[in-house]
């Protein structure tokens, strides 16, 4: 017999019980809501308070400014990495793109004697790599790991190739240097740029169709496509933005260092992804907020900062960052599991 299904009964039977959350006492419910929505924010606040109380020199203007400056590179790249991860992909090429863009910016600005042209060329070079990533991943259907692993090496190679003698390229133009140290209200430009990036990409994710589509694609790309979202185009835009942003961070870093250095940004991709995951961004896509990323970035910076203040040797810092990342993922899992 062919598959024939027997029909079903009409009225909703009494045995069906729909999930309604059990009424919880108000105080724990409030805590739970806070924990669910801002778990890592709470963790961050506690860590910050502890550091301020127990670590000498932590809660000083100079130190906090230094802390912020130390996370500008990771933070800027994390803004667009959030989009990549939210769309269910990731980008390993950001560290290399950052180095390459610094070199391109330095070489071009030296050649044209124009800071603006140099900066533009640097950012554009990164956007090109990003576009290639996006095109190969979205249009040709190659997975993001392989694609960006390849472009990671290519961009690193280009960074060395563009730097004469494969060493750092000094930036002659003093205007270019300003990008890295121009100060407003006692805060230098990289920090301002980081704050702007957080705000702009935060708005982009939460308040635009582009951002919401990104999350939908990461949550279920086939459903997104059938719901009329242009999945390929959106992904290409995401990767292009990611490349441009990594490059911009690279140009800013080069300005701070007054030179482009081909070995900048080694391992940056993993730090950035760690910061995002710390901030509750799902590696499987569809889940992530800018607030979370901000917190993740700050936690990473704070841990490093505190350890430096306490004169902990660098190699312990690696162990600490790794442990914190693992802990964050476990906490996140525990947090999301109870709601299933």
């Amino acid at each position: 017999m062919t598959t024939i299904q027997t029909p079903s009964q009409p009225a909703a039977p009494a045995t069906l019980s729909y999930a309604t959350p059990p009424p919880a006492p108000p105080a724990p419910a409030l805590l739970r809501a806070l924990w669910d929505n801002a778990g890592m924010l709470v963790v961050f606040a506690l860590m910050f308070a502890a550091a301020a109380i127990f670590v000498d020199h932590f809660f000083t203007w100079v130190n906090l400014r230094g802390l912020l400056l130390s996370v500008t590179t990771i933070g800027m790249v994390a803004c667009t990495m959030l989009f990549c991860l939210a769309a269910g992909d990731f980008d390993l090429s950001v560290g290399s793109v950052l180095a390459m863009a610094g070199i391109v910016g330095a070489v071009v600005s030296n050649a044209t004697e124009s800071a603006a042209v140099g900066i533009f060329a640097g950012v554009a070079s990164g956007a090109v790599v990003g576009f290639v990533n996006g095109f190969v991943i979205a249009q040709l259907g190659i997975n993001a790991l392989i694609t960006t692993l390849a472009t990671m090496q290519i961009a690193r190679g280009l960074a060395y190739t563009f730097a004469p003698g494969a060493v750092s390229v000094g930036i002659k133009d003093a205007d270019f240097h300003l990008l890295g140290r121009y100060s407003v209200l006692g805060i230098t430009s990289p920090i301002w740029l980081l704050i702007f990036a957080f705000i702009i990409f935060g708005i982009l994710l939460r308040y635009t169709t582009f951002g919401r589509n990104t999350l939908a694609i990461g949550g279920n790309s086939e459903a997104a496509r059938l719901a009329g979202i242009r999945v390929r185009r959106t992904k290409i835009i995401i990767f292009t933005l990611q490349g441009a942003m990594a490059a911009f961070a690279g140009v800013v870093l080069a300005a701070r260092l007054t030179s482009g250095q081909p070995n900048n940004g080694m391992g940056l991709e993993l730090q950035v992804i760690s910061a995002c995951v710390l901030g509750g961004v799902s590696l499987t896509g569809g889940v992530g907020t800018m607030l979370g990323v901000v917190v993740g970035v700050l936690i990473m910076g704070m841990v490093e900062n505190v350890m430096r203040l306490m004169n902990v040797p660098t190699f312990y810092q690696y162990i600490a960052s790794g442990t914190i990342l693992l802990a964050a993922v476990l906490i996140d899992r525990a947090r999301t599991r109870h709601s299933v």
Binding site: T3, T208, T209
Partner: protein, 503 residues
């Protein structure tokens, strides 16, 4: 009578549904026991509890009188329980022999003993009367032989209890006969066999006893199946008569709305043409693989067409991708709700607005949360979606409510044609007739509706007209006045196949 396998007051709940409530029955040694029920009756949940995938919320599972606690599938396997699923749990890249002993390859200190592996594999296959070379890659075997490998794998594990979940759904009739022969010989060896299927003929051909589940509850166990009529079984499974479920009422039909001419593309063996009138509900019936889903996906632009024309109210359309169809007012509710419909980790509100927001987003770019809330709550109320809040993640809703969320998504587009692909698959019984009501409501408003379904009673219940597909082409169209099961089935079956062959 003592049963080897005994379920005692088994209950299991999921968010949104109570899948099983206090189910008790037993299965004797040397017996093939049918487990019957509609989609959503709780059969798969029960099998998953038996195989250790799920743990029962309440109740006990006894084997030979001893209560069991299966923490995972491995403990179930060790206790001698094997479940053979529709999607076989095999690794196509490995050899047949390696698959047979997956997880317990014969080895010396970790080194695989290839010779013993081959010999023992050949032995197991011979016991089933199968002539399969254990060295070939599993992926190179036809599906029927793969199933035999799966059975041999269960036997290699010394399984005493073997459960089959819709084992014949992808088998040819010859393969089905082979399978039945094997099941009968297993019965003779005193195995305890649980057999899940929709196909009544098969149940009567191979089973000795039967248990009927409905809405997660135990309805009845028949220790001697031969004494029970087919009608009795169906009545127990369904609970009510067919007419009540569908509540069909004829409508006045308008002029032709969707006109598809000579459409071709992947999945179709010949160009297809059909028309849907305003306010008309056209059912598409056919066997799995007949090309129904493929055809409406071509209409929607989900797959590229290679030829043909689509017109709406006489105006030709150019549909190359889903956004083109949506803009023209043609929308699709995809077949596989979880894979193609919902975005599970996002909220109800987000899922409803994902498409329709283009109508109210400032500059088509910025999100207006007040309007998103308004749009989502309108359809959540209109379709009575049961959700505690608009921010609830859609994965936590029951299947029927997820389906309504997707319908809500499309109502916001004011569609002129709605293509439903298996709209009630895996949906709670109560929600089914609600979905039908929504379908009638759309048709009343002059919307053209297409309902693709493999459930013949459903297609017959809701459609004004049925288009039958066979082997990738349209085999014909039947008006409601001429609906008859036999006729529709005969049209749907491939040339040369007799009624009674497997789909």
């Amino acid at each position: 009578m003592a049963h080897y396998l005994q379920f005692e007051s088994i209950s299991k709940g999921f968010p949104g549904v109570r899948a099983l409530s206090s189910v008790s029955f037993g299965v004797a040694e040397g017996s093939v026991h049918a487990l019957l029920g509609e989609n959503g009756a709780g059969k798969s949940t029960l099998l998953k509890i038996l195989s250790g995938v799920y743990r029962a919320d309440e109740g006990r599972l006894l084997l030979d009188g001893r209560p069991q606690t299966f923490r995972d599938t491995l403990t179930a396997l060790r206790a001698g329980v094997a479940v053979i699923y529709q999607e076989l749990q095999l690794v196509p890249q490995l050899s047949v022999a390696e698959n047979l002993f997956l997880g317990h390859l014969p080895n010396t200190a970790g080194w695989v003993d290839r010779k013993t592996l081959r010999q023992r594999a050949a032995e197991q296959l011979r016991m089933l009367g199968e002539d399969i070379d254990p060295r070939v890659k599993l992926g190179s075997l036809p599906i029927g032989q793969r199933q035999m490998v799966e059975i041999a794998k269960a036997l290699a594990r010394d399984a005493k209890v073997i459960a089959f979940d819709e084992p014949t759904s992808s088998l040819s009739s010859r393969e089905t006969d082979r399978l039945f022969a094997v099941i009968r010989s297993l019965r003779q060896q005193g195995k305890v066999i649980l057999y899940v299927s929709h196909r009544m003929d098969e149940i009567y051909a191979v089973c000795d006893a039967a248990t009927v589940l409905r809405d997660g509850q135990h309805v009845q166990t028949y220790p001697r199946l031969v004494e029970v009529t087919r009608d009795e079984l169906v009545r127990k499974m369904v609970g009510r008569s067919i007419a009540d479920v569908y509540n069909y009422a004829p409508r006045k039909l308008g002029p032709p709305l969707l006109e598809v001419k000579d459409l071709s593309g992947s999945g179709l063996s010949a160009p297809a043409s059909f028309t849907v009138r305003e306010g008309e509900i056209v059912g598409f019936f056919g066997l799995v693989g007949a090309g129904r889903s493929e055809l409406i996906r071509l209409v929607y632009g989900a797959t590229r067409t290679t030829g043909g024309t689509i017109a709406l109210s006489g105006k030709p359309l150019r549909i190359r991708k889903p956004p083109d169809a949506i803009k023209s007012g043609i929308v699709l509710l995809p077949e596989d709700r979880k894979k193609e419909g919902i975005v599970p980790v996002r909220s109800v509100q987000e899922n409803v607005n994902v498409s329709a927001r283009r109508h109210f987003s400032p500059m088509r770019f910025f999100i207006s949360y007040p309007r998103e809330r308004e749009n989502a709550s309108r359809y959540v109320n209109a379709l009575s979606v049961k959700t505690p809040k608009l921010g609830q993640e859609v994965r936590l809703l029951s299947g029927g409510n997820q389906q309504k969320v997707i319908i809500g998504r499309w109502l916001g587009e004011n569609p002129r044609v709605v293509l439903f692909d298996e709209p009630t698959r895996g949906i709670d019984v109560g929600a089914k007739s609600e979905i039908y009501r929504i379908i009638y409501g759309l048709a009343e408003r002059g919307v053209g509706v297409v309902v693709v379904s493999s459930e013949l009673p459903e297609v017959m219940g809701v459609s004004d007209r049925i288009v039958v597909m066979r082997d990738g082409t349209i085999a014909g169209s039947v008006d409601r006045a001429d609906f008859a099961q036999e006729r529709l089935l005969a049209m749907a079956l491939p040339e040369g196949a007799s009624v009674g062959a497997g789909a």
